[in-house]
């Protein structure tokens, strides 16, 4: 028996350069009729080989090297690295360091999330090409977002010296810690920010946003009594529980021909997703009162696996960051001395922290003299890439009736809602195994 197949021409949707993401990627979709024949999220951001040149450097240089992987989340890199190395060396940083690092990291969440919500994501929902265009009619909203972002940036600069590639974070603590007075100067702005983030929540709640239900295994750090930032146990919405030291056992990375970033998945083959959406789902009972209120006003209903709910999740996390930083600053005592003595020791250092975009894994093999012998870094975006592609394969068929330009734009929005950081994802993932 033979089938006569109607000659349907192939339809190609090509987005050669995805806008409003960090780094360089492209999206190719090949469709015939109602079928997706091929869909590739192509990552052509060139490799920069951080893992290769970390080998042979002294451990004390690591906090100056790894932030250069990403200008948007440099503190995340510094924190995963310093915690990993301190744990290996058995270093206990001075009292107050834990709190100061939390303030610094939360400030990065504020900066990164407000950048994403206002400059990268919101123009999608309102049909603008950029926040600069959007500012013509939504000036007040854009200025409010930039004001909040500036608060995050200024707090980072106060603690770290500058917001992009801070200089004070060291293995063992900080080269210099701010005085209580330095930080208390931020309290009036934080108080004002607590009001403004609720306005942002109302604004985000009213944005015309698509929704897209799909199954997903969400993964994040968790702690018994605080929202995860610098440490925690890994939990997933499918019930897996494991410590960072077992990350490489649980997760494998595979190389695909169309991407300079490796794809991560669980060793049993399942893809997963990390980031604000995963964090709020797995830590809903650790959200602060202001974060709950912001979540409610932004339209976030938990649990949810809708990737477009990530925008509201970011707003809730910024509210949490504002409220927690306020409390931490009120109770802050400058660590004295700011940095503990460090004596290196040979072995393997591993740690995970929660970068704005999700879990960031670092591993260093260190020699007795403190020289790095090997490094492995698994950033959040490479953990999300496979999931992103799978989302697109599910999402694209639901909007195939739209004209090419709109279809492309909608798919681009799916990618953007993950806030991918392509510079992070590219070029430093080391593959332990390869499948034919």
């Amino acid at each position: 028996m033979t089938h006569r197949v109607a000659e349907t021409p192939n339809r190609f949707v090509d987005i050669p350069s995805i806008a409003r993401v960090e780094g360089e990627g492209a999206l190719h979709i090949k469709v015939r009729g109602s079928q997706i024949l091929d869909l590739r999220l192509e990552i052509y951001e060139p490799p920069r080989f951080f893992e290769a040149f970390l080998a042979g450097r002294h451990y004390s240089e690591v906090p100056d090297i790894v932030p250069r992987i990403c200008g948007i989340c440099p503190v995340a890199y510094q924190m995963s690295a310093t915690h990993a190395l301190e744990r290996l060396f058995g270093v206990e940083p001075p009292p107050g360091t834990h709190e100061l690092r939390r303030i610094l990291y939360l400030a990065e969440w504020i900066e990164s999330h407000m950048l994403h919500v206002h400059l990268l994501a919101a123009p999608d929902f309102l049909g603008y090409d950029s926040a600069i265009e959007m500012a013509r009619s939504e000036r007040a909203a854009v200025e409010r977002g930039l004001w909040l972002k500036r608060l995050g940036n200024d707090l980072m600069a106060q603690i770290g010296g500058r917001e992009i590639h801070p200089v004070s974070p060291r293995v063992g603590g900080f080269s210099k810690a701010p005085t209580a007075r330095d930080l208390r100067a931020f309290l009036p702005r934080l108080e004002e920010a607590a009001g403004r983030i609720l306005e942002v929540a109302d604004w985000v709640g009213a944005l015309p946003q698509p929704s897209f239900a799909r199954p997903a295994e969400l993964v994040a750090l968790t702690n018994p009594d605080e929202y995860p930032v610098n440490e925690g146990t890994i939990r997933t919405t499918a019930g897996r529980v494991f410590e960072s030291a077992r990350f490489e056992e649980m997760v494998e990375e595979i190389q695909v021909p169309h991407s300079n970033a490796l794809h991560a998945r669980f060793s049993d083959g399942g893809s997963y997703s990390v980031g604000p959406l995963a964090r709020v789902n797995l830590n809903a009972d650790r959200l602060t009162p202001l974060a709950r209120e912001a979540a409610g006003r932004a339209g976030l209903v938990l649990p949810t696996t809708d990737p477009f709910a990530s925008t509201a999740a970011r707003v809730a996390e910024v509210a949490l960051a504002i409220e927690e930083s306020t409390a931490l600053i009120e109770g802050y005592r400058a660590p004295e001395p700011p940095q503990a003595e460090v004596t290196p020791r040979a072995g393997r250092a591993m740690w995970i922290t929660e970068a704005p975009r999700g879990m960031l894994y670092h591993r260093y093999d260190v020699a007795e003299d403190g020289m790095i012998q090997a490094a492995r870094i698994v950033p959040p975006t490479s953990q999300n890439l496979r999931h992103m592609e799978e989302d697109l394969r599910r999402f694209a068929p639901t909007v195939l009736d739209r004209p090419d330009a709109e279809l492309g734009r909608l798919c681009e929005m799916v990618v953007r809602t993950y806030d991918p950081c392509i510079s992070c994802a590219t070029h430093f993932l080391r593959l332990e195994m390869e499948r034919g």
């Binding site: 350069s17 806008a19 409003r20 960090e22 780094g23 360089e24 060139p46 490799p47 920069r48 080989f49 951080f50 893992e51 290769a52 040149f53 080998a55 450097r57 002294h58 240089e61 100056d64 250069r68 992987i69 990403c70 200008g71 948007i72 440099p74 950048l115 400059l119 123009p123 603008y128 090409d129 950029s130 600069i132 265009e133 500012a135 854009v142 200025e143 930039l146 004001w147 972002k149 010296g161 500058r162 917001e163 992009i164 590639h165 200089v167 004070s168 080269s175 210099k176 190389q255 021909p257 300079n260 490796l262 700011p338 510079s423 070029h427 430093f428 993932l429 080391r430 593959l431 390869e434």
Partner: protein, 270 residues
């Protein structure tokens, strides 16, 4: 010397990225209110991180972030040059090859294999090089990241039709001016301040630590004397070389300083 562009009613400004971390163009997004004000005065016709708009040249002022590290980028930067009246490199990657130039000293192909199991999928050059190795550059802004004040100042000057002059003084001058205790003298730390050009505001000494040279070399730095001093502080030749072979390590002055202390060969190959 090339004349700066005259200030047209609405200058066309483009921002491009090669191999980098996005931190330097983020300085533009971080300029916030200043960015919105700038967007009113000029036409930002290409800036992928900010938006979809992606118009071809000619551009009056083009900002380029990142180093050249793939065969495609060699072509791309030539095209960008061809469309640009005034080409400005922003930051250590575009100006000196960036931290990723550390691979330039590694055995060819080593870095690729360390990171990727199937290297044939990945297109890359053996070396990460500054933009000026490939095309004529009209102005270079150093720093990792570039200083936001310097970047906005340079843009404003170019748009007003003048070429900005950047200070070439070492970090030391800034440090003394601000009255910070010298970390080299008082703490005995291997500070690169005496040979690194200012622009950061002597940030590391302000935060109690040695400068690590992220703004790259000042003109005619006395690296030999500084290397000798580092030796007196107890650093081995290898450690001294590692101080220079860092964020701006591929800049000729730092490359030669490292080579003089610990010859590796690759650093002086053409």
């Amino acid at each position: 010397m090339k004349a700066a562009p005259e200030a047209p009613a609405k200058a066309r400004v483009a921002v491009f990225k090669l191999s980098s971390c996005d931190g330097c163009q983020l300085q533009l997004l971080d300029a916030e209110e200043a960015l919105l004000a700038l967007a009113e005065r000029v036409d930002i016709v290409h800036f992928r991180e900010a938006g979809d708009r992606s118009e071809p040249g000619p551009y009056d002022v083009t900002l380029v972030e990142g180093s050249v590290s793939t065969p495609e980028q060699v072509e791309e930067i030539r095209e960008i040059r061809g469309m640009s009246r005034f080409l400005v490199t922003i930051g250590a990657c575009a100006t000196a090859g960036g931290i990723q130039a550390l691979r330039n000293w590694q055995e060819e192909g080593l870095a690729l294999h360390t990171v990727y199991p199937t290297p044939r999928y990945v297109s890359t050059l053996a070396r990460s090089t500054p933009v000026s190795d490939h095309v004529r550059v009209d102005l270079e802004l150093p720093g990792c990241p570039v200083d936001r004040g310097q970047l906005l100042g340079a843009l404003t000057a170019l748009l007003a039709g003048t070429v900005p002059r950047l200070s070439t003084a070492p970090v030391c001058v800034e440090c003394k001016r601000r009255g910070y205790p010298c970390v080299l003298v008082t703490k005995g730390e291997p500070c690169l301040g005496p040979v690194t050009r200012t622009g950061c505001g002597a940030l590391c000494p302000a935060y109690g630590r040695a400068c690590y040279g992220c703004f790259g070399p000042m003109p005619d730095p006395n690296t030999a004397e500084l290397a000798r001093r580092f030796g007196e502080l107890g650093l081995t030749g290898k450690q001294v070389a590692a101080r220079f072979r860092f964020i701006a390590g591929w800049a000729p002055e730092f490359r030669e300083a490292a080579e003089a202390t610990e010859p590796q060969g690759a650093g002086v190959r053409p």
